[in-house]
């Protein structure tokens, strides 16, 4: 006798219990701690903070631990927590020109005021697996030098003084920056919302789109004007006090792409900008973001927009990995009601097809 399947509730509980067990792994191996994740898997933490849109190293480390190292799952955990947080207001725009620079490079000028600072980078390492890192490796103390006195102005500002690059649009106090987590997105979207979407967007998706623009699908001739990574101060305008108060410092990576622009009937040729910004040290992300930001400006700059990277609806609707993974993975949910409908339809269509075939054969036999 058939008894309908029950017991889903206990099955779910048991599955989660098993997950917790698997997450811990072999109990003879020491448990990983949040400071270990935060300190030694720092770039993973940076990515979870960026795409999770929440600057909190400790929570990001917890999310990575809870997600067993699954980055998108960790980003999802942070996002779901972020959605419940109250909003007190928006900070003042951060001044990346006054960044406490830890790394800063330009590929457009050999030397720049403040100098090229390589900082901690994988660039120029030979990608040879290093057995020394297996355990107990004690790195050398880093080389130090006296702190430079001079400023490190942004390369795009240097270009801007000669009018060779389009000016950055001025902030408009009457036009607060949009927030797509608070207002539903509609198209066409302005650049503030596009940049927010890209900042939260999946690194891999943006990397592929940026790459596609380099390979000719919406080519825009980029140069890495400047990439800088370091700490900037965040300030919040306190109504009560009547002035901006510092909240603390956050680590940011900023990428300013410098792109060709042929000019138009009304505008002289000049360089244009693509912009990328992310929490922590996230160079691949910010570079990809800057390429895609510039590609999405095609309409504004009167360029032909035919490539995927230039298609605002396509890019913005599919960049969010939390949305994407949810919808792709929802195929795991039961669909047997719909499937039953399709099954019924398919059987009917096949029956009709077979009938028609038989009729054709009979007719041919009769002729």
């Amino acid at each position: 006798m058939y008894v309908a399947v029950k017991g889903g509730e206990r099955a779910i509980e048991n599955a989660h219990r098993l997950l917790a067990h698997e997450r811990r792994g072999d109990k003879d191996v020491p448990e990983v701690t949040l400071p270990q994740i935060s300190e030694q898997l720092a770039l993973a933490v940076d990515r979870v903070m960026s795409e999770g849109s929440l600057y909190d190293r400790e929570l990001a480390a917890l999310a990575i631990k809870q997600a067993r190292g699954d980055m998108i799952e960790a980003i999802f955990l942070v996002r779901a927590f972020r959605a419940t947080l109250p909003r007190f207001g928006a900070s003042e725009p951060v001044e990346t020109g006054r960044m406490q620079v830890r790394r800063r490079i330009s590929s457009t000028f050999k030397d720049i005021p403040g100098g090229q600072i390589l900082g901690p980078t994988f660039d120029y390492t030979h990608r040879l697996l290093d057995p020394e890192l297996e355990e107990g490796f004690v790195p050398e103390e880093p080389a130090t030098a006296a702190c430079s006195e001079g400023a490190t102005p942004r390369v795009t500002d240097i270009l801007g003084r000669d009018g060779l690059i389009e000016p950055s649009p001025k902030a408009d106090a009457d036009q607060p920056v949009g927030d797509l987590t608070r207002e539903p997105l509609s198209f066409p979207a302005d650049r503030d919302l596009r940049l927010q979407n890209l900042a939260r967007g999946d690194e891999g998706f943006l990397l592929a789109l940026g790459y596609s623009s380099q390979r000719g699908y919406g080519r825009n001739h980029p140069f890495a004007g400047e990439i800088r990574f370091g700490e900037v101060e965040v300030e919040f305008f306190a109504e009560d006090a009547g002035f901006a108060v510092p909240l603390g410092a956050i680590a940011l990576t900023e990428c300013q792409m410098v792109n060709q622009f042929k000019g138009s009937a009304t505008e002289a040729p000049c360089f244009t900008r693509g912009y990328g910004l992310a929490f922590g040290q996230s160079e691949r992300k910010t570079m990809s973001m800057a390429l895609v930001d510039r590609a999405l400006r095609a309409r504004e700059l009167g360029e032909e927009a035919l490539a995927p990277a230039q298609d605002e609806e396509f890019v913005m609707s599919h960049s969010d990995n939390v949305q994407a993974t949810g919808f792709v993975e929802h195929l795991k949910l039961p669909h047997y009601v719909d499937f039953q409908s399709e099954l019924g339809l398919l059987r009917k269509l096949r029956r009709e097809f077979a009938q028609a075939q038989t009729e054709v054969e009979l007719r041919e036999a009769a002729e």
């Binding site: 309908a4 509730e9 206990r10 917890l62 539903p184 949910l333 047997y336 339809l345």
Partner: protein, 294 residues
């Protein structure tokens, strides 16, 4: 560390008010998709976040909640969502369609006729009925604004030309209140007639796509068709093997690998109620029990 503390039914009151405003607008314009600032919920997009947000926004302490997926109260995701509201709202839950004041559903409309005062909340994956004909939101919004639904009729006509009948078996498009073409969510077309002139309020939430729409009570909902090819409900050849019901939607159960099949009601509450009333099918089962695992 920032330890989370959550409000009644999870969402903060400000968010609930925002969602309620969208719901009111949706009720005022039946079938129109109202954009809303969907939040990230603690379950994945595509797993009912739209329905969960709508339910969270309308749930009161006196409500009795029922959650079904594929017609059943016991499918894993229905259990997960019911537990979520038990935990965050502490409301009474039920599996009885008649006793529930709010029913959240995925892919089915209960067989029992809904009554006035009830709210049916649908989980919607893709709210736009024209999406598979036109991928761009900017275009489909324009088409709705102009009530330009020719493309949909052409699609249905092409089905008839090719297959002899309309080859859409679920998420079958409907016209609401004579104005907006609406996606009923991926319910089988078998359920479409239940939406028409329904006494209950029907709310649709699409979390990932950030849309809410509604069918107010006693509103006309017409499945799209042609005069010479009228809409027809899917019919099963056999009654339910457990309760003998001849007018309910059935699940096909594969009983062995020799082609053995049986058909049972997809609406578990409907099937159990009928069995309790003494109705029997060909393979009437013992009363459902939670199967024992280890």
């Amino acid at each position: 560390m920032n330890t989370p503390a959550y409000n009644f039914a999870y969402l903060d009151e400000q968010t609930k008010r925002m969602i309620r405003r969208a719901i009111l607008k949706a009720i005022a314009i039946p079938g129109y998709q109202v954009p809303f600032a969907s939040r990230e919920m603690p379950m994945p997009y595509g797993w009912g976040t739209g329905g969960v947000q709508v339910t969270a926004a309308i749930l009161g302490r006196d409500d009795v909640l029922k959650v079904i997926d594929q017609g059943s109260d016991d499918t894993t995701n229905a259990i997960s969502i019911r537990k979520f509201f038990e935990k965050t709202a502490g409301v009474e839950t039920t599996t009885s369609t008649a006793e529930a004041t709010v029913i959240q559903t995925r892919h089915r409309i209960p067989e029992a006729t809904l009554h006035a005062g009830q709210v049916l909340v649908y989980q919607v994956p893709i709210p736009e009925p024209l999406r598979f004909l036109e991928p761009r939101e900017t275009e489909t919004r324009r088409m709705h604004a102009l009530a330009e639904y020719g493309l949909m009729h052409v699609k249905l006509y092409e089905d008839i030309a090719r297959f002899g009948h309309i080859a859409t078996s679920y998420a079958y498009p409907v016209k609401v209140n004579g104005r907006y073409v609406m996606d009923p969510s991926p319910t089988p077309k078998f359920d479409n007639p239940k939406m028409d002139n329904c006494a209950a309020l029907q709310l649709f939430g699409a979390g990932r796509e950030k849309r809410i729409y509604a069918v107010p009570p006693y509103t006309s909902v017409v499945s799209l068709d042609f005069e010479d090819h009228p809409f027809s409900r899917y019919r099963f050849d056999a009654p339910c093997a457990l309760c003998g019901s001849e007018d309910s939607y059935l699940d096909e159960i594969v009983t062995d690998d020799q082609g053995g099949r049986m058909f049972v009601c997809s609406d578990t509450d409907h099937c159990e109620s009928r069995q309790a009333q003494g109705h029997r099918g060909t393979q009437s089962a013992a009363p459902h029990k939670e199967a024992r695992h280890g």
